[in-house]
């Protein structure tokens, strides 16, 4: 199907608002929100929707696409279609998503792919994600030991290999194990299965952290420390993330280290530049 030239003026930008109202939005994301003909909003707090309405009067919430008992795959498809309908009508459309629009968010990726497939300009503007807040609030540098991220249910649905020498971050733990995609929460029975899976790699008394980023500047992040074995009984929400610290030290690969040392000795690689530290002032 050929899209008429005037309709191709439609365009889509999916932008991240960051996690906290007022604190994280970038200037480019704000410009997209302010200048769009229509803004579709999927946010974590109703006050954030009101904030968007102060930036652009034509905000449409994506919340009505969710419904109790309705498969979320249908919800996400309808979100994509709602945005694409306006793009096809020649509008400048902004999808405003909390956090980062491309991290644990299906509809923005699908909408951008579909818009581009139909010949429209489509763009993703990154935002401050819950992951970013988590590193800052918990004082974690993922570079130190590495950091694994999984959607929590995938640990149950699939055989995944965990490295207990690295950090482990499990997303959407409050709905772990739901294969119906019709629930907004699962309970202790599903969580016990998750604990059972994690006990293959971690001791039951290993300290884990239930984390929730603050979405309003008057709130504090949740950083509740608990034993892994106690997870089934702790209140968890849709936006709770489980953070599992490393349970053991990284194991040196002595064979590979020896091969690297051999390379250095062999002359096959350029040696590092010589460096002589400057003498400290007053030190002979």
């Amino acid at each position: 199907m050929t899209v008429p030239a005037e309709k191709l003026s439609g365009r889509l930008a999916c932008v991240g608002l960051g996690m906290m109202l007022g604190a994280h939005i970038g200037p480019r994301a704000r410009s997209h929100v302010e200048q769009a003909d229509v803004v579709f909003a999927a946010v974590s707090d109703p006050l954030v929707e009101e904030w968007l309405r102060q930036m652009n009067p034509n905000v449409r919430s994506l919340q009505p696409f969710y419904a109790a008992g309705k498969p979320r795959h249908d919800t996400y498809r309808q979100m994509v279609e709602a945005m694409l309908d306006e793009v096809r009508a020649g509008k400048h459309v902004c999808g405003a998503f909390y956090g980062h629009p491309g991290v644990f968010a299906k509809a923005p990726h699908d909408a951008i792919a579909q818009a581009r497939a139909e010949g429209f300009h489509a763009h993703m503007e990154p935002g401050v994600s819950a992951e970013d807040c988590l590193y800052a609030d918990l004082g974690i540098d993922p570079g130190r030991t590495g950091c694994q991220h999984y959607e929590a249910s995938q640990l149950l649905f699939y055989r995944r290999r965990l490295d207990p020498a690295a950090w482990l971050v499990l997303w959407q733990v409050g709905i772990v194990g739901d294969r119906s995609y019709r629930r907004f929460a699962t309970g202790p029975a599903h969580r016990r299965l998750l604990v059972e899976r994690l006990l293959q790699d971690y001791p039951g008394d290993h300290e884990v952290i239930a984390y929730e980023a603050a979405t309003l500047p008057i709130a504090r992040p949740r950083m509740q420390r608990l034993r892994l074995q106690d997870l089934p009984e702790v209140p968890l929400h849709m936006h709770t993330t489980l953070v599992v610290p490393p349970a053991r030290a990284m194991e040196p690969d002595t064979a590979m280290q020896a091969r690297i040392a051999g390379l250095e000795r062999s002359g096959e690689v350029e040696p590092p530049l010589p460096y002589t530290p400057p003498l400290e002032e007053g030190v002979a």
């Binding site: 906290m20 109202l21 007022g22 604190a23 994280h24 999927a42 946010v43 974590s44 707090d45 109703p46 006050l47 929707e49 009101e50 904030w51 102060q54 919430s61 919340q63 969710y66 979320r72 795959h73 996400y76 998503f97 909390y98 644990f104 968010a105 299906k106 509809a107 923005p108 959607e151 929590a152 249910s153 995938q154 649905f157 997303w171 959407q172 709905i175 739901d178 294969r179 995609y181 907004f184 979405t215 309003l216 500047p217 008057i218 709130a219 504090r220 849709m238 936006h239």
Partner: protein
């Protein structure tokens, strides 16, 4: 409503660490309703939402653990295995 959101936006943009008392003082100067002031002082975001009578967000999940196609493939696979098991047990019988 707009005063509350403007207040929260300004607070979010303020990099200074603020005590709860300092936030409460700032809120008092923003001409907010008593109920909102109390909620802000208590750091109770749910109370702000209730006081403003906005529709509470029902869902913030945006990601399925499996794509629809993967899920169907898995279920088809499970179905095949179940059929094979049924067939082999019927053969054994």
């Amino acid at each position: 409503m707009s005063n509350v959101v403007k207040f929260l936006e300004a607070l979010g943009q303020n990099p200074e660490p603020m005590s709860e008392d300092a936030i409460a003082d700032l809120a008092t100067g923003a001409e907010l309703d008593t109920e909102i002031l109390q909620a802000i002082a208590a750091g109770d975001t749910s109370a702000i939402v209730r006081a403003l009578d906005v529709t509470p967000t029902i869902c913030s999940m945006l990601f399925p653990a499996e794509d629809d196609d993967n899920k169907k493939d898995n279920e088809d696979g499970e179905g095949d295995r179940e059929n094979e098991e049924r067939e082999s047990s019927s053969l054994a019988a």
